[in-house]
Symmetry: C2
Subunit: 171 residues, 2 copies
């Protein structure tokens, strides 16, 4: 289930993120202001702006999957130097392409793998603890914050934009 | 893993939500305004205010677990009539107590259970699809939005308040 919780679901949510960024661009166009205003908006003066929220969201997916699969050394590096909408959309696309390289079998040992991060100063979590208590809450946190910055600034986004399509059966 | 993703993790995140609401109350006290101002704040005029975000967050946990365990009929009803901080904290506490009544074995058939909701008009998802694509993203969405409303209004909350303590080993 760890594969299903991460690779396809993150990929879908990153598509939704691209879609709301396109909505932001259309809104800026219609109001005749530069979309960069939205990209550099934030909800509080000491909070990261939208660009950084998108970067962290992408890295939570990329580095989380890399750590869970024990392939951190091979993960591509990103300089976090995006300033334009086009660059930000490309960052999302790069992340999706990276995720697409994994299969369910890559996560066979993920639940019990020992996970650490530089800022944890040598402390560790199991893969399952990391996934449930750190990676998933963080991913959705930065995605929702990106959404909230746009919502607060008048872009017409709703819950369906955030969740994306559901694979409904029947009726 | 469905139990671990929901019951203990939602319970922990609801504790974190209580804690940031207490921070909101302390902030209102220090600035000499009624905390009800924060409870009725929102990030956009057509978005739900903080009270409703907390109610939906609680119900996403309660009803999600009820549906996954096939016990929807027995789930307690809530009237969504909270107006004070004390009532909102009690709602969170009620939800935590409800969650505490479940064990991992209650989720044995959750992944393949057929899930529906009134607004889906007869359509269904499997339990695993519902959990991954609907319940988890929704729970974290409303939790993050509650956090964002407070953050935007000056309450000193940070990522650690949102994530809560990690069960680190070693070092």
């Amino acid at each position: 289930m760890i594969y299903a919780l991460t690779v396809p679901q993150f990929s879908k949510m990153l598509d939704n993120l691209s879609a709301i960024l396109h909505k932001a661009a259309a809104y800026a166009d219609s109001k005749k202001f530069d979309v960069a205003v939205l990209l550099n908006s934030r909800l509080a003066p000491d909070q990261f702006a939208l660009i950084r929220q998108v970067q962290i969201c992408c890295d939570t997916a990329k580095l989380g999957v890399a750590r869970l699969t024990g392939t951190l050394e091979q993960a591509p590096k990103h300089a976090d130097d995006e300033t334009t909408l086009a660059q930000l959309l490309q960052r999302i696309e790069d992340t999706k392409q990276y995720l697409a390289g994994f299969s369910a079998a890559d996560f066979d040992e993920a639940a019990t793998r020992t996970i650490s991060q530089p800022r944890w100063e040598g402390k560790t979590l199991t893969g399952e603890q990391f996934l449930i208590q750190h990676m998933l809450p963080n991913f959705y946190f930065h995605l929702t914050t990106a959404y909230a910055i746009l919502r607060h600034n008048g872009v017409e986004v709703g819950k369906k934009d955030y969740l994306g399509p559901m694979p409904y059966q029947g009726a």
